[in-house]
């Protein structure tokens, strides 16, 4: 199937020029390499991605617009286990094709001021920089934890009615899609800890995910947003009916293996329903750009049922997720000094994977960048974040993330990037768990 995809792409690329000439289809995109290696140890490769992004755009008529974006990628290492695998090109250099977006816009449908978008689309809500508590319609794409704010496209319909400076959007997504989780150590860092009863030793863990029933009531996602301008500030109010796109364990069965307390655990996971009411604003305070965003989450109550009957301890129940509402928010600002130095700071309460009032942590992010040598080089020497898990015991519950970066633009459409991800902190914090995974990276990108 993947080979077939490749062939399709190879045939499509030279055809684009013809499409443009004959049908006015415009195409563009980029090719990007992304290689990362750990700083510690033997400098293992932590990321290896070659991505071809293709964007296709057309205006079939005055009031319609088509857009699509596709990624063709090789990612990760060769998956060679035995000599027989060497005959399989897919295992030697795996490729994957991913439709990021493909949608049709119809402008002025039925009503002059009504626009409709149908198809796979990114619905980016919120005014904050990359970390948006109100941006809940599209599933999170956490494949690359350093690419904050990346989301999958959702297959659905968005209708927007414009009334002067105000607009009202309604979104309907028929089928729920789960988030993409990061692989390896990051997955463990984002997962809530599972406390085993005293004296129990885990041998194997397995789980199955219970997807929502395939019907309108259980599977559909919807939302609405009203936005406008008040007192020179842009604002919006939103509502989303959705499911949490990260799974949560609601059942766990312990099976004893021996008499020394060794067990296997099999778990069931669900995607809790939730409703989210959001609000955001953006504007200026003096010369400083300011923004804020807040979302109140109303989750479904999830009871964790732990079956310990095989251990003679019966079935125990506890609350995995309470239905008490909780609030995530971001406040931020940016400023450009007359010498061209740009600074950006954000305070975030509640990271992507955190749920429940008691589990929300605080994060402070700060970035500074300047372009030098006639804008041929962009330096970001201070690009950092602080995670504070517990203000009362800061020294045992923190993480510091430092991510300096330098980008060189030798010619138009070319970018070469060097940088590092450096983390220090305590294992009790999310990012602190990753302190041994510091890496350096090199990226090259050509746009066309």
């Amino acid at each position: 199937m993947k080979k077939c995809n490749l062939i399709i792409i190879v045939l499509i690329i030279p055809g684009f020029s013809l499409l443009y000439a004959e049908f006015g289809i415009d195409w563009s995109g980029y090719f990007q390499t992304d290689n990362r290696a750990l700083i510690k140890g033997e400098h293992d490769f932590s990321w290896h991605e070659y991505r071809l992004d293709l964007q296709l755009e057309a205006y079939p008529s005055t009031n319609t617009h088509f857009y699509s974006e596709v990624w063709l990628r090789t990612i990760g290492n060769s998956n060679i286990q035995a000599s027989s695998d060497l005959y399989d090109k897919e295992k030697i250099t795996s490729t994957n094709l991913y439709f990021k977006e493909a949608y049709l816009d119809i402008y002025g449908l039925i009503l002059k001021d009504l626009d409709v978008r149908i198809g796979r689309q990114r619905i980016a809500w919120g005014t904050a920089d990359k970390l948006n508590p109100t941006d809940n319609l599209n599933p999170d794409d956490l494949e690359d934890m350093w690419d904050f704010g990346r989301h999958l496209g959702s297959d659905g319909l968005k209708a927007t009615y414009y009334l002067g400076d105000y607009e009202l959007s309604a979104v309907f997504i028929p089928k729920f899609t789960p988030a993409v989780l990061p692989a390896g150590d990051w997955a463990a860092a984002l997962s809530p800890s599972f406390d085993l009863p005293e004296g129990i030793i885990l041998r194997n863990y397995s789980d199955k995910i219970i997807m929502p029933e395939n019907n309108l009531k259980e599977n559909s996602v919807g939302g609405a947003k009203f936005s406008g301008n008040l007192f020179n500030y842009d604002f919006s109010l939103s509502y989303v009916y959705d499911r949490d796109d990260l799974p949560l364990i609601n059942k766990a069965s312990f099976t004893p293996i021996d008499t020394f307390g060794t067990v296997d655990i099999s778990a069931e996971m669900v995607y809790p329903q939730m409703q989210v009411i959001g609000a955001d604003f953006a504007g200026s305070l003096g010369d400083v750009g300011v923004w804020g965003e807040s979302a109140i989450f109303f989750p479904e109550k999830i009871i964790l049922s732990t079956d310990l009957s095989a251990l003679g301890m019966g079935i125990q129940e506890s609350i995995a997720l309470d239905d008490e509402p909780y609030i995530k928010y971001v406040l931020g600002g940016d400023y450009t000094f007359t010498n061209g130095i740009y600074v950006n700071a954000q305070y975030l309460h509640g990271f992507i994977h955190e749920r429940g009032d008691d589990n929300l942590e605080d994060y402070l992010m700060f970035g500074l960048e300047k372009k030098i040598f006639e804008d041929k080089v962009k330096i970001m020497p201070v690009n950092c974040g602080f995670e504070i898990k517990d203000f009362d015991n800061f020294k045992d519950n923190y993480a510091v993330i430092f991510s300096p970066e330098i980008t060189y633009y030798p010619y138009d459409n070319i970018e070469i990037v060097f940088g590092a991800h450096i983390i220090d902190g305590k294992d009790s914090s999310t990012f602190g768990k990753m302190k041994d995974s510091d890496d350096i990276y090199f990226k090259a990108k050509v746009s066309f």
Partner: protein
């Protein structure tokens, strides 16, 4: 003798009054400038930008620019590929929006951004705004050079700008700007804009080429209007956030 003195005095007064009557005030000149620059009901321009660094190396950008009246302007980048789709909307009362297609978001531009370079050119976001100079600056008549009026423009109180003053050269015959010197907060000349190939299309004057020169960086940006259309009858709907992302 006395009769002769009275006659000469009267003659001198007449000459002075005539000269005064022929030289409009700075305010009148600037109002005429605004009227000429913003005369078309709307403008539909295809623009080529040539950026030249101090070594003479050139880069090219292309964009479309729509303007309605004197205070609504929409700019969309057509090339290079890594800037294609970036769009900028300038509205009355210093309201500006930027659309970045990579993020699928429209962002309000805070005032600190207005004095930064617009997409690497020597024009700032402020320079790219649709503008009525007489609304923003207090003019002062400096001198007349051949057939050019020379005005000094001081920002009105409350105007957020990095310019401490502008010196503007204006053609006497049609009130079209041919040159603007931009002075920074230290009152030092740091940018010069010149306009060439001034011609009349339909009933409106337009400079086919404008050049902004950054004296410190020794960098210039030439803006060439390759295609010009006037009075296409754009509605206000063209200049909205809705249209910015289309």
């Amino acid at each position: 003798m006395k009769k002769k003195t009275i006659t000469i005095t009267m003659l001198l007064i007449w000459i002075c009054v005539s000269i005064y009557a022929q030289t409009p005030t700075a305010e009148d000149i600037l109002k005429n400038v605004d009227a000429v620059v913003n005369a078309p009901k709307d403008q539909d321009l295809k623009v080529k930008l040539i950026l030249t660094d101090k070594k003479g190396k050139e880069k090219t950008r292309e964009m479309s620019m729509l303007q309605k009246g004197s205070d609504k302007r929409m700019v969309k980048f057509l090339s290079p590929a890594d800037q294609k789709g970036i769009a900028f909307l300038s509205l009355p009362d210093d309201v500006m929006y930027l659309y970045l297609p990579a993020f699928k978001k429209i962002r309000r531009i805070a005032s600190h951004v207005k004095n930064t370079k617009f997409a690497g050119t020597d024009f700032t976001y402020e320079d790219m705004e649709a503008v009525r100079y007489s609304d923003k600056y207090e003019p002062e008549f400096l001198r007349k050079e051949d057939s050019l009026f020379v005005l000094q423009l001081i920002p009105k109180e409350g105007l957020k700008t990095d310019y401490s003053k502008l010196i503007m050269w204006i053609r006497e015959d049609n009130f079209y700007i041919v040159k603007i010197e931009h002075y920074n907060k230290g009152d030092k000349l740091f940018k010069i804009m010149t306009r060439d190939k001034i011609e009349k299309i339909d009933e409106y004057w337009i400079a086919r080429e404008s050049k902004m020169q950054d004296l410190k960086a020794k960098h210039t940006t030439k803006m060439i209007f390759e295609e010009v259309k006037f009075d296409s009858g754009f509605s206000d709907d063209k200049f909205t956030k809705r249209n910015l992302k289309k």
